[in-house]
């Protein structure tokens, strides 16, 4: 089973799932193989679940969760929060908002 961070919420996928195209948001992907669970952090991407019990997950970046440095996450989150408050144009605001979203998702993934 895999649990996918779709934009509509976490999505658990088992064999025989209805064919689906799902947009992904920054979040945690967990792959369950028997009792082993591997957790990855995805930045963004798409997931295709095909009718033949095959799921493709395309991510721009995927990192195993234990390879992420929590202190850098905190630093990045603080940096982008500060950027968001000082942003003047819409573009800057949007960019800072993306940064905040990704870092808070990362933060949540590590602490959870």
């Amino acid at each position: 089973m895999v649990i996918i961070p779709a934009t509509t919420g976490q999505m658990g996928v088992l064999p025989g799932h209805v064919p689906t195209i799902a947009e992904l948001r920054p979040g945690l992907l967990s792959v369950h193989e028997g009792n082993d669970v591997t957790k990855y952090f995805l930045s963004s991407g798409f997931a295709f679940i095909h009718a033949n019990s095959v799921a493709d997950i395309i991510a721009v970046e995927a990192v195993q969760i234990d390879r992420i440095d929590p202190s850098l996450v905190q630093k990045g989150l603080a940096e982008f929060t500060q950027k968001l408050s000082s942003a003047t144009t819409d573009l800057e605001k949007a960019e800072a908002q993306i940064g905040v979203d990704v870092y808070s998702a990362l933060n949540f993934a590590i602490s959870g």
């Binding site: 509509t8 064919p19 493709d56 395309i58």
Partner: protein
């Protein structure tokens, strides 16, 4: 009487005993009188210079081959890994090179540097063929050109069809961020129903395949899916995320384009290094063959001149001996 004989001998033998002043005289006369002699020695000089330059060229081509080989190793792994990025899209949307739409954009990918065999002319030729196929009375095709080399070839006869040209993509090592910026730039500047990306797919160090990848616009994807055409299966998929289906489809196709582009530039860069490696290998071999031939000519000429000189000396001496007997 003896003195007179000795004097006569001395006069005759003088040139043989002291050859040094004799050659000095000869070399000073070369420019004025003995032209054929001079020509002979100059021609070995020319061959020697030529040998030196061929040897230098061989050194350069060998070095370029080494550089290409090490770059190839670095990029080959990345190119092969990046294939995983477009394969899911093809599994979902299929590959539709034969789709017939109004606005076609042909994205030609080439290298910035030359000396890499025929990979750039192959992608230009493929693009031109595709242009002929996709343009007609009620449809049009335009070019987006990546890389200096294809630009130089395209600008000759298809200048009016080029809408965007991007160069110096490979100044820094290729990465997804950079390629997605380029892809975004292309999408902003063209109107398209289908994007056809032409590149050389890496097969092995000596083989590359001119390939086209087709990315359809969200409208065409939706139309094809609804009419149950080539993408009929897409309708059986539930679509999650986004407000409307078309919004998700737009994100999907734009993401597909950047992924396909990323793979295409990597494949092309990989083929470029492979082609450069084999081109430089064959030119090193050619330089070696040429050097062998030149060395042979040089040695033969040198030996011939030595033989001539020896014959001259021996025949001169034997002439004296004969004279001496009388």
């Amino acid at each position: 009487m003896a003195m007179a004989a000795l004097r006569r001998e001395g006069r005759r033998f003088a040139p043989l005993i002291s050859p040094q002043p004799m050659t000095a005289v000869r070399s000073s006369l070369i420019s004025e009188e003995q032209v054929p002699l001079g020509v002979r020695s100059i021609s070995t000089q020319i061959v020697r210079n030529r040998m030196k330059s061929v040897k230098n060229i061989q050194k350069i081509t060998k070095a370029m081959k080494m550089v290409a080989a090490s770059k190839l190793r670095a990029i080959q792994v990345r190119a092969e890994n990046s294939r995983g990025l477009w394969q899911p899209f093809t599994a979902l949307l299929g590959d539709t090179p034969s789709v017939d739409v109004k606005k076609n954009v042909i994205v030609t990918i080439s290298s910035d540097k030359g000396l890499c065999g025929g990979i750039n002319s192959t992608s230009v030729k493929t693009s031109k063929a595709l242009h002929k196929l996709t343009s007609g009375p009620d449809k049009e095709a335009v070019y987006v050109v990546l890389g200096e080399k294809a630009k130089a070839q395209m600008i000759r006869d298809s200048k009016k069809y080029i809408v965007v040209s991007i160069t110096e993509l490979q100044k820094n090592p290729l990465n997804y961020t950079q390629v997605s910026v380029v892809a975004d730039d292309i999408l902003k500047n063209v109107e398209y129903d289908a994007l056809r990306i032409v590149f050389n797919k890496f097969q092995s160090v000596v083989a590359f395949l001119p390939t086209t990848a087709t990315v359809l616009s969200p409208e065409v994807v939706e139309r094809e899916a609804e009419s149950g055409g080539r993408l009929g299966e897409l309708d059986s998929y539930e679509i999650e995320g986004g407000d409307t289906k078309s919004e998700v489809l737009q994100n999907l196709t734009e993401f597909q384009f950047s992924c396909v582009m990323f793979n295409a530039v990597l494949e092309n860069a990989c083929s470029e290094q492979g082609a450069r490696m084999s081109a430089m290998d064959s030119s090193s071999r050619n330089a070696g063959d040429m050097l062998d031939r030149l060395t042979l000519t040089y040695n033969r000429t040198r030996q011939a001149s030595i033989t001539t000189e020896l014959t001259e000396i021996i025949s001169g001496a034997s002439a004296l001996e004969v004279e001496f007997l009388f």
